[in-house]
């Protein structure tokens, strides 16, 4: 038992590493927020473009979405981080991770939003257009509010799953939470920093999970 505590919850290790862990947490939160905001916004934007039914554009979106959903994010992170400098483009590691995760989230979010838009019954469009509402107004006031209520559960789950990939920062040296912890572990040969990191992830993501459930209940769809 003592050995267990010594390995995983070592007081002196906690004392010496918590500032690093905390700064890692901040970076993780920063990354996560950037990914969520830009990824969801871009995903919605792509779904909206798709409603315009422009063939070539739609095909491009479908390809983008399928490729990004199929590739493991780690592969993309490595290719961009280690590949791009060879063509003279060097991006900071934070930016690489943000770009990749935001693009992946956008791809999944586009699919979810698009499926949601399609599942709004045609009668809703008919009713809105028959009163003279324009196409954008019909989307904004009639279709999207219903779409968002419907897609909230899968969207929240997907967003959380992708945001947790911020831990990939470890492989390219983003000083995020897991990176700080593994660095400390290799210096101290003690697993306590990893436990701190786990606690850090819980502190960040449990509220997000709770917020997600709250949102889902708050906007529970009222069926006609």
């Amino acid at each position: 038992m003592e050995r267990f505590v010594d390995t995983f919850f070592n007081a002196s290790v906690i004392a010496s590493t918590w500032p690093k862990i905390l700064s890692g947490m901040l970076i993780t939160v920063e990354l996560a927020l950037s990914v969520v905001v830009t990824g969801l916004a871009f995903g919605l934007f792509l779904a909206l473009i798709r409603t315009a039914q422009i063939r070539l554009l739609n095909a491009a979106i479908v390809v983008f979405v399928d490729v990004l959903r199929a590739l493991p994010p780690l592969v993309m992170v490595l290719i961009i981080y280690f590949g791009l400098p060879n063509v003279g483009l060097t991006l900071p590691s934070f930016a690489v991770l943000w770009l990749v995760l935001a693009a992946v989230l956008a791809a999944f979010a586009e699919e979810i939003f698009w499926a949601g838009i399609l599942s709004v019954r045609r009668g809703q469009w008919d009713a809105a257009r028959s009163t003279g509402l324009t196409f954008p107004d019909t989307l904004a006031f009639v279709v999207l509010p219903q779409t968002i209520r419907m897609v909230l559960p899968p969207l929240v789950n997907r967003t959380i799953a992708i945001t947790k990939n911020t831990a990939l920062g470890t492989v390219i040296g983003v000083p995020e939470l897991l990176n700080q912890a593994t660095t400390a572990v290799s210096f101290l040969s003690n697993a306590t920093p990893l436990m701190l990191a786990a606690i850090g992830y819980l502190i960040i993501f449990v509220p997000v999970v709770l917020f997600g459930s709250w949102l889902e209940q708050r906007f529970a769809f009222r069926k006609a």
């Binding site: 019954r121 009668g123 809703q124 008919d126 009713a127 809105a128 257009r129 028959s130 009163t131 003279g132 509402l133 324009t134 107004d137 006031f141 009639v142 509010p145 219903q146 209520r149 769809f221 009222r222 069926k223 006609a224």
Partner: protein, 247 residues
């Protein structure tokens, strides 16, 4: 424009889906304050005809003129016209995420550009006409089918349409709820609304219709007073269809 020119004038209207010709040259004129019923077998093109009257479907040929404005003219502001052409659907199509009041004010605010306060005054007046002012804060899911359909009628009425199109407004309703919707429609007809109604409520048609149009396979087979069509029609097809309704 002379007093005699029709509110809704359909000339040689044609519409196909693929190789399937649904409307094969429809001519129909509806004058101010007239109530015209359209009857006909399933698939005869009644819904398609109504949907061409507000351009929810684009006709392949022919013209639809509403209040003197050709809907097919590229210079026509179709959204401005649509608000003058009310439409009521079989499945109500209320917006489920909005209260009754907001269902009605949306187009008033976004299309007619009324302020929220003005829109609510007009919406309340429309709700009173359908007898549901007290339901203004109810969501569609909290209303019976009959109430939902009356709210849907109010949504169209509030925009002060020149003509109202009804596509089987009572056929999704439980029998005991049909009467309340028909009563609202009778009131509207009596108040001078111009109405085109696709409906097989024959008793109601006898009371409310000025004219009954029988459609089959994308053409108007005949039209006449309710007595003529339901009573002693000259056409075997009409008689066969009407006798089916009576059963």
């Amino acid at each position: 424009m002379t007093a005699a020119s029709p509110i809704l004038d359909i000339q040689d209207l044609r519409k196909s889906y693929g190789a399937n010709e649904i409307l094969k040259g429809i001519d129909l004129a509806v004058h101010a304050q007239e109530t015209v019923f359209i009857i006909g077998p399933s698939g005869s093109g009644k819904s398609t005809l109504l949907r061409c009257c507000n351009r929810l479907e684009t006709p392949d040929a022919g013209t639809v003129t509403v209040d003197g404005v050709d809907l097919g003219d590229p210079r026509t502001d179709i959204n401005a016209m649509r608000r003058r052409i009310g439409m009521v659907f079989q499945s109500f199509n209320l917006y489920p995420h909005m209260k009754a009041m907001d269902n009605i004010t949306l187009a008033l605010r976004r299309v007619s550009k009324k302020s929220r306060a003005d829109a609510e005054v007009l919406a309340l007046a429309a709700l009173e006409r359908v007898g549901l002012a007290e339901k203004r804060n109810a969501y569609p899911a909290e209303l019976s089918g009959g109430q939902q359909q009356r709210i849907a009628i109010a949504r169209a009425l509030a925009l002060e349409p020149k003509v109202m199109l009804f596509d089987e407004p009572t056929s999704a309703l439980d029998p005991e709820l049909v009467g309340s919707v028909l009563a609202v429609m009778s009131d509207m007809a009596r108040a001078g609304m111009t109405m085109v109604v696709v409906s097989h409520e024959m008793r109601f048609a006898r009371d409310a219709a000025d004219r009954v149009v029988f459609m089959d396979h994308g053409v108007i087979v005949e039209q006449g007073s309710p007595g003529e069509i339901f009573g002693q029609s000259q056409h075997a097809r009409t008689r066969a269809f009407v006798s089916q309704l009576e059963r």
